[in-house]
Amino acid sequence: MTTHDTTIDPSIDPAGYHRGLIPEVVHHEPATKPVKFYQVGSFAVGNRLLPLEVRSVQSDPNRTNALTSGHRACQGCGEALGARYALDAAMHAADGKIVAVNATGCLEVFSTPYPETSWRVAWLHSLFGNAPAVASGVAAAYKAMGREDIRVVAQGGDGGTVDIGFGCLSGMFERNDDVLYICYDNEAYMNTGIQRSGATPPAARTATTQAVGDEPGNVFGQGKDLPRIAMAHEIPYVATASVADLRDLEAKVHRAMSMRGARYIHVMVPCPLGWGTAASDTLQIARLATQSGIFPVFEAEYGEVVASSPIRRQVPVEDYLKGQKRFAHLFKPKRRDDVIARMQAQADRNIRRYNLLPQGGSPDAPEATEGSL
């Protein structure tokens, strides 16, 4: 048996968790290191002025392209993009040695209609609800074979993660199995026709939460905040990320891959079909989500938040909502200022909870604008 070179940071001892010590936060700096100015800084995918070693994985012409062309995702699919970003970064971090376990969902359906596949990584699909358990099993198998250099990544949509696979996921977390689980959250069951999931936001119209009655759309006060549930398991690493912030997403995957044990990354991926946005607006709408505070971007270790991405150009939640047909009933025929205010209150709470305006920005959201950033 050979020992294989890995990229694991030796200072990280996930076993400590099981020895009964109080696990300590390892990193005190955010995963993302901002790139020096160079015209676009850290915001664009690449930059001809950057030294090669600090360029993003996606800017590399030889990136894995884990999800290759010809897949059947809709035009402008945020999930297809997010999955390629994440798996290419994981392949980069693990020197190409990963196995991906996929839950049922859009990502599986559009990528692998028998007998074709778009995956260019070792890829395994079993059921809707068991991806975390299958991944735990793959990790255990490799451990038994002495091949812990091969890393296991599990992935699924919000339905497979937050609802159907939740029991298996929680088990994977509490056992601290050596798996990185990535959830691509587009806030409903999209491939079956846009049904509400436990990650659907309040007031959103879906096939099962129609925009009718006094409280149109999804109900306030329901649903789950899975990143916080994951944190409650006190696993080594939990992070949220946005498909609109590539460098941050890549940095978080790299950091997660540098650690052992159960790790969880929750990536926001807008769905043009389900959200009612133009295919070309996918990244713009994802940016509005983070810049309004409705989707906080942060990372946590062993249950403690260690860093969050500050809002750069704050917008009111209204800017985020009004571009999406699933929220159209908040604006016509009658404007629902009461509902918009409740959504804004959620964003404001995120801003407080995750310190998203550290420069002491205005606690009050700015005036609604044309909705561009």
Partner: protein, 540 residues
């Protein structure tokens, strides 16, 4: 091949599935006209030379710049930079300091001794350029690059025209001017000084195939002001000229009044102050809002202690004092007399009321039309007489150094076409890269880097340059603030954001290519292109 139970098909890649067939619109790469380039009177490709400067490739930047304008070090000091007024970055934070970077490149070229390459193929044609000012020298430079023999004749004792006799040395040090002129003569352009041209027909007889007239406007306009015998009155152009050429600088006394509100009035006032006047007072009949002088020049003058007297006209001048009438603006913004008078102590009066061109040398040349004191030219800068072209301050246009340089370039290209007997067809202009075409999220926040100024009180007594240049690091930072409007700058966004991997990276020079077999036409690359250089077009 033996297949497992219930498996009948071979495994295949989704590459077999050409999703490009879904598309109704397709993205295409375009180059748009950046607003800075559009605004530049000299037609510089600013975005492109900043692109090289961003990489630290200053020589390439300088060579790109000098394809259009041979005077970067001069421009970087005296140009009023309309490019910066139209810069899209102004809507994000502040305009890019294009002028400061231009000066850095110009100074760098002088320090490194970069020179222009002489033409390799000669046309055998000879062109006479009359006037060694910005327009004439620019035309000479461009004509030389195009392979013609060029002779420049100027009536004055030194080359530079208004760059020397109109712009004081605290704005344009003469070493800079001399060095940039020398680079043109080094290409093989002959400059003959103290050589006033009086007869154009004789010049043709001498063997010149075409003539470019750029004599400028050197005669100060006069206004009738009743004056006592000993009153000392002179015009600003003559005054600035004398300061430049004469050993004995003109002495104007303790208090000098300058009459006028343009940039020349400011230059004359600041020069008088430097030559020992205790007070220099600008008298202008309207208010500061209406003043034609540039705001920064007014600011600099105020910092140096120049006094400004608004809404006043000079009615009478006598020894040691003058009578001034207060004015009031009417509804149309025109000054009207109020009948209120006051006295102003003054030892001399400088009139800065505009300039006229001395067009006597065109008398009797058939076909040449003169209207409102300037020569009529057509779209190719040619006068009514075939083979005679004109530009700069002597034709109808805004009178700035940069406009003159632009005239020189345009005239040179048309003269070249005329000499070769082919019509000059400028490349069609691309649509303008307006702000709404950009996705400014991607540009890092970066404040404008300002050039340092000598302190007002310190500089007012010397002819040291008022504005200092940027160092290399700061100039490069400033260049990198450019958003490259409408032109790809290899940010890899399209390559990254395509959910279908349908954008291929060719290389830095060739940029990117779209694989239409798989492009679904979602338009994400278009929406996320920071600089607006991808467009959606309908499928055929």
């Amino acid at each position: 091949m033996q297949k497992p139970f219930a498996i009948t098909l071979n495994l295949g890649s989704s590459l077999a599935n050409h999703t490009g067939s879904w598309r109704t619109e397709k993205p295409v790469y375009v180059d748009l006209l950046p607003p800075c380039n559009k605004a530049c009177p000299a037609g510089e490709n600013i975005q492109q030379w900043l692109f090289h400067a961003e990489e630290g490739n200053y020589e390439a930047a300088w060579r790109q710049l000098t394809q259009d304008n041979p005077f970067p070090a001069i421009m970087g000091r005296v140009c009023y930079h309309p490019c910066q007024d139209s810069c899209n970055r102004a809507e994000v934070d502040e305009s890019v300091g294009i002028n400061a970077v231009e000066r850095f490149l110009g100074d760098q070229a002088l320090a490194e001794g970069w020179s222009f390459t002489a033409p390799t193929e000669l046309s055998g044609k000879q062109v006479l350029v009359i006037g060694a000012g910005p327009s004439g020298l620019s035309a000479a430079y461009h004509l030389r690059r195009l392979g013609h023999e060029v002779t420049v004749r100027d009536a004055g004792p030194m080359a530079g025209g208004m760059m020397r006799f109109g712009i004081p040395s605290y704005r344009l040090p003469r070493t800079i001017l001399d060095a940039e002129v020398k680079r043109i003569t080094d290409m093989g352009v002959a400059i003959e000084l103290n050589a006033k041209v009086e007869d154009l027909e004789a010049a043709f007889a001498e063997g010149f195939d075409a003539i470019f007239c750029a004599v400028g406007a050197h005669i100060g306009k006069r206004a009738y002001i009743p004056a006592g015998e000993s009153a000392r009155i002179l015009d600003a152009v003559a005054y600035l000229h004398a300061v430049e050429t004469e050993e004995e600088k003109p002495m104007l006394g303790r208090r000098v009044v300058i009459y006028g509100g343009g940039n020349t009035a400011i230059d004359a006032a600041r020069t008088a102050k430097r030559l020992g006047a205790e007070e220099a007072i600008i008298v202008y009949r309207r208010n500061r809002d209406k003043m034609p002088a540039h705001d920064f020049e007014v600011e600099e003058a105020l910092e140096e202690g120049i006094l400004l007297k608004w809404l006043s006209t000079i009615k009478h001048v006598d020894d040691g004092k003058m009578v001034v009438e207060k004015m009031a603006l009417d509804e149309t913004g025109f000054p009207q007399p109020t009948g209120e008078f006051e006295e102003l102590e003054a030892d001399s009066l400088i009139l800065a009321l505009g300039q006229e061109a001395d067009l006597g040398f065109l008398n009797g040349v058939e076909g040449i039309a003169i209207a409102d004191g300037v020569v009529t030219v057509d779209g190719s800068m040619m006068t009514g007489r075939a083979g005679i072209f004109a530009g700069g301050d002597m034709v109808p246009a805004e009178r700035t150094v940069t406009v003159a340089v632009g005239h020189g370039k345009k005239a040179a290209r048309n003269i070249d076409a005329y000499l070769r007997g082919t019509p000059y067809a400028p490349a069609p202009k691309a649509p303008v890269a307006t702000f709404d075409k950009l996705t400014t999220w991607y540009y890092a926040d970066a404040p404008h880097q300002h050039r340092a100024h000598l302190e007002g009180a310190r500089r007012a007594s010397t002819f040291d340059e008022v504005v200092t240049g940027l160092d290399e690091q700061t100039a490069q930072f400033e260049a990198r603030r450019c958003m490259s409007c409408g032109n790809c700058f290899s940010c890899d966004n399209c390559f990254g954001v395509c959910p279908d991997n349908a954008v291929k990276k060719v290389d830095i020079a060739k940029g990117y290519a779209i694989d239409y077999d798989y492009c679904k036409g979602c338009g994400l690359c278009v929406a996320e292109c920071p600089c607006g250089s991808i467009h959606m077009v309908p499928e055929d």
